[in-house]
């Protein structure tokens, strides 16, 4: 099997398990909706304020929902010693990483699509003219978060308080993604898109390149026993 076929197999396995249990996606989704509800009561934003606070709100929701999902990604493997099976399988650790990462990415994107829709719906925010950019930025930001999150989820899985450890390790490292994603979203939320957009998109691409390559190289050290 080639590297990408191996990664594909891992990805498909995760998608199937998720499809059968629907644990991660459901909890992420509900969490996201709850944040939107809380946001409404905490700020009662008018349309100006929605444009002003929207980018931050959206990305906070995406990231915390993503954290929930990422914690699940390896917890399931640990419960039934599935990780042992993965390690014994004749596939490279990079492929395991890539498969898991893309699975996490897809779950997050799925949830984010629904949250975005609800955000536009509940706050009367016209997302349609910006939809293309929004999809691109969401993809880039989520990719960066998932790429670094997947390896750190595997790291924190081995600790005594894995649920708490993941945010502590992940959020400081993911800060550049947060800044990049929020700033570029803010740039498209203003009416002529802000001029900073180009820079932040390039920045996100650069971050993704670094933080996909590095975990690909280092993931074998995390899995070792």
């Amino acid at each position: 099997m080639t590297f990408f076929k191996q990664a594909g197999a891992i990805f498909w396995k995760d998608v199937l398990t998720e499809f059968r249990t629907k644990d991660a996606v459901t909890s992420m989704l509900l969490f996201g909706l709850l944040v939107i509800l809380m946001f409404h009561f905490a700020f009662e934003p008018d349309s100006m304020e929605t444009a002003r606070f929207g980018p931050g709100l959206l990305w906070m929701t995406f990231l915390f929902a993503g954290l929930l999902g990422m914690n699940r990604a390896f917890a399931g493997e640990r419960e039934n010693d599935g990780l042992q099976g993965l390690k014994l399988a004749p596939i490279s650790s990079g492929a395991i990483y890539l498969g898991k990462m893309i699975a996490n990415l897809c779950f997050m994107l799925l949830v984010e699509a629904v949250i975005l829709f609800c955000f536009a719906f509940f706050f009367n925010f016209n997302l349609l003219p910006r939809l293309g950019w929004m999809c691109g930025i969401t993809l880039l930001g989520t990719l960066g978060f998932a790429s670094i999150g997947t390896i750190l989820a595997a790291v924190s899985m081995n600790t005594r308080m894995s649920d708490v450890m993941l945010p502590i390790l992940l959020l400081p490292i993911a800060l550049p993604v947060v800044i990049g994603a929020v700033e570029s979203t803010a740039a498209i939320f203003t009416d002529p898109p802000g001029e900073a957009l180009g820079f932040w998109v390039k920045f996100l691409v650069a971050f993704n390149i670094i933080f996909i390559t590095l975990p690909l190289m280092m993931f074998e050290y995390v899995l070792e026993e």
Binding site: M161, P172, Y221
Partner: protein
């Protein structure tokens, strides 16, 4: 370097730089005497960088060579780094209050150092929460590399992020042109803090090794008790 020699050298340069900071360095024109905190502040942040660099180098080397010694070096550097990061942040706040009128501002440099401080904490927390020593070394080395690589990226992102917005407070750094006497004092405090760093780092490593010996002796005696 021999440890005693290092201790004496640190002590001597520390005293010398203290004298230089309070007696030799001229008083800054606008900020007055409080500006002298700059020599401590700047030097401890330099050591902070040095420490994260050591964490990076020794973590990478550990992952390649798997030598326990390298793990001890990396983790000790992180602990000493956290100490200096804290000193750097605190001295910065004490300086900011009288000069800028506020304890804290989200300036790119301040934010970056704050995040670095959090990364050190995460690294040390991670080490505490992993049971097996071998696994602890491996996982923290992975996190050490990721964290260290992230530091310059965090700085760049913060810097650009801030220049997009009007700044409420403009940095009150030394500006252009340092009095040559001030330059000498900075160099001396750099040297003193660097020596202090290496001394503490060495001490921390010795402590770690001693702890390990004690642990293995305890295990042996327990084993004998059973037999």
């Amino acid at each position: 370097m021999n440890r005693n020699l290092l201790a004496w050298a640190t002590c001597a340069t520390m005293l010398l730089s203290l004298y230089a900071i309070f007696m030799y360095a001229p008083t800054e024109l606008t900020m007055g005497a409080v500006q002298r905190i700059f020599y401590f502040h700047f030097a401890s942040h330099w050591v902070n960088f040095l420490a994260i660099f050591c964490v990076f180098i020794y973590s990478v080397r550990f992952l390649i060579k798997r030598d326990r010694e390298l793990d001890i070096k990396a983790s000790s550097a992180a602990e000493v780094g956290l100490l200096f990061a804290t000193i750097g942040l605190l001295t910065g706040m004490f300086w900011a209050k009288p000069v800028w009128g506020i304890w804290w501002t989200w300036d790119p440099r301040l934010t970056s150092f704050f995040v670095l401080w959090l990364i050190y904490w995460g690294y040390l927390m991670l080490r505490r929460l992993v049971e097996s020593p071998e696994q602890r070394a491996r996982l923290s080395a992975v996190f050490g590399v990721l964290g260290a690589v992230d530091v310059p990226i965090i700085y760049v992102s913060n810097r650009v992020w801030r220049t997009q917005h009007p700044q409420p407070v403009i940095g009150g750094g030394e500006g252009s042109g340092l009095d040559p006497r001030m330059g000498w004092v900075v160099a001396l405090s750099f040297l003193a803090f660097t020596l202090l760093y290496f001394y503490l780092w060495k001490m921390r490593q010795d402590l770690e090794r001693a702890q390990e010996t004690v642990e293995s002796l305890t295990r042996q005696s327990q084993f004998k008790g059973f037999a």
